[in-house]
Subunit: 248 residues, 2 copies
């Protein structure tokens, strides 16, 4: 596994609502980001609403630092990516969140300090603020685009984590079981076909072979494990017994 | 482009807070999802707080339908994925959000109706509810895991959109400019080196060739376009003029 490097700082420029600052902190904590900076917040700071919305991530708010302007807040970073809504006319490369996260990871792995810059709730980043960033990130949306600050931070944080996340796409929970062997499957076929034949299910005789082949194809498609084969054979035994229960 | 198919329905089981239902609707709208179902909501319905939080996505709430139990809510879907927090002991394949979105897309493209099932705020889905889904989706998080319902819907919706999103990873906005030709770059080298030589910057003489080679390497790394070469040559002219301005 490559070195993961330090997570990017989240820099909120002129945030207006404590709720959104708190939601951003909560989003950050979920994905392993911990450094928050505020540029000239337009709400009181520290902020009670922010604390409520941060849920268990109050530590991020307590450690957050406040700066008067973008140059001071950004001074110590080697790579800064700015977030902007789709269609903004910026003289910057526009990256998908995944590509942005990949660039942040690559820089962090080289020991470069990184940051992601988010604009205020109403108008986003100014062109002057954008001009301080190496590139822009735009979150793809459908026609309706109304992501709030906390949601934007959530998605960027998610992509940051995902960029180094080794979780397999599919985790199968049948840990103690192993795929049924061919012998176990053939045993099931024989058992089932014998009982169905006895129950006159495989009728008329000229269709029997086709029906059997179709059943086998279906069962093979199930990708049964050894335990499941035993369970199904137990079901067959139980059903056969039950058949006679109601009879004299 | 392959057929996109119908977007999955978002099914909220026993949601407790109108705010979260509204946030889920807003998240859905951003990523092109429109069908919401509620199973036995634990809050009044319709819900005023939900409307406020839905922002521009009130239409999704108005069209939402309410069901008494999971079997009735899920009856008409061919593929149902259930969301669960990491580590839940479920007898299901556990998918990443991206893998889940890929399976939803693949099913929808075949005309299969799909749904994603989200549990209530406090306890998530019950094991009985989980047993009605083909597989589970778990959103990867860092150690701190505290995603709320709206955030979970946001991330699943994002992956749904992303699974068919053709946005290039990097979009370069220098659309009218083309990469500088070798002749333009050589013109810049010559111009800059001549002026620096005149200004006695390339000193001492025995280091001149090394300095020139280093400058050229730096400028080539910039990947300038034709317009930028002209701008920089204009800067050089201006700076040279300026040099003499303060002198007699």
């Amino acid at each position: 596994m490559p070195p993961l490097g330090r997570a990017p700082a989240v820099i909120l420029s002129s945030p207006q609502m404590g709720e959104n600052i708190g939601a951003a902190a909560r989003a950050m904590a979920n994905f392993g980001l911990s450094e928050m900076r505020l540029i000239a917040p337009k709400t009181e700071w520290p902020n009670e609403r922010a604390k409520v919305l941060a849920s268990g991530a109050g530590g991020i708010l307590e450690a957050a630092t406040v700066y008067p302007d973008p140059p001071s807040a950004l001074a110590d970073f080697g790579l800064v990516l700015a977030t902007t809504a789709r269609g903004r006319d910026v003289l910057r490369d526009i990256l998908t969140p995944a590509e942005g996260a990949a660039r942040l990871r690559a820089a962090a792995a080289q020991g470069i300090r990184t940051a992601v810059l988010f604009g205020g709730e109403r108008a986003g980043l100014t062109n002057d603020e954008m001009s301080l960033a190496e590139a822009a990130i735009t979150i793809p949306t459908a026609g309706f685009s109304s992501l709030n600050l906390g949601q934007a931070v959530l998605l960027i944080g998610y992509e940051w984590l995902k960029a180094a996340d080794a979780t397999p796409a599919t985790r199968t929970r049948r840990t103690t079981a192993k795929p049924a062997s061919r012998a176990e499957l053939l045993g099931l076929f024989e058992h089932l076909e014998q009982e169905l034949d006895a129950a006159q299910f495989l009728f008329p005789p000229e269709k029997k072979q086709t029906m059997v082949r179709n059943m086998r194809a279906m069962i093979l498609r199930f990708q049964l494990n050894d335990q499941e084969v035993r369970t199904i054979r137990g079901m067959i035994v139980a059903l056969v017994k039950n058949k006679f229960r109601g009879k004299p």
